[in-house]
Symmetry: C2
Subunit: 99 residues, 2 copies
Amino acid sequence: MRTLSHPARSDIELTAVFHALSDPTRLSIVRGLVGVDEQSCGALDIPLSKSTLSHHLKVLRDAGVTHTRIEGTHRYMSLRREDLDARFPGLLDVALKAA
Amino acid sequence: MRTLSHPARSDIELTAVFHALSDPTRLSIVRGLVGVDEQSCGALDIPLSKSTLSHHLKVLRDAGVTHTRIEGTHRYMSLRREDLDARFPGLLDVALKAA
DNA sequence: CCCATGGTTCGATGATGTGCGAACCTACGA
DNA sequence: TCGTAGGTTCGCACATCATCGAACCATGGG
């Protein structure tokens, strides 16, 4: 697998984003992404199996919340902040700021 | 049943709200509530059975998104705008404004 | 070339979620 | 008091989701 599929900005759906963020595990992944430019997928400190984690990352990716870049055997994740801010202004801020 | 249970403002959880809004039916219900002060539950123009509709309204209620007042045999629903704005500023605006 | 590493995919399983009809409850009106 | 109308709850079917281990794939190092 050379590339991973990401939805275009205009294809990001609100319900999909809400669903992606409605899981505590995924929400904490997203929060861990703020401030850091890129996060190695394997560096996540979450007590779940590789396959489960990969599934959550795919949900976030498919919803358009995150972008994953492949470099060698590593995947580097980042928030699609610009796309989300453009499409749903304020959404990300809400998700990140809430206690 | 004289009263319906609603979570206190401080008990409203972000993931629950996200989950409540991640369903297209529920999102459209919420959007139909904007502008109107109160909406009779039966006046919803949604092609679903009574029981299914009641279920969706309960999800919204339990998540703290809506408040339901009982008057006679009718239920009147309203958005908990103040509570949501206080707890998660901007969230409701995002859900309501997005195309 | 072989192996270890980082991740994805597959198949299965149990938990949730959505949907329905039927039965039920409660208030109102005749 | 009896029926009807507005909603809830129950029981069930079916779909989706979260989770895991095992198998798999690609890359980089020896």
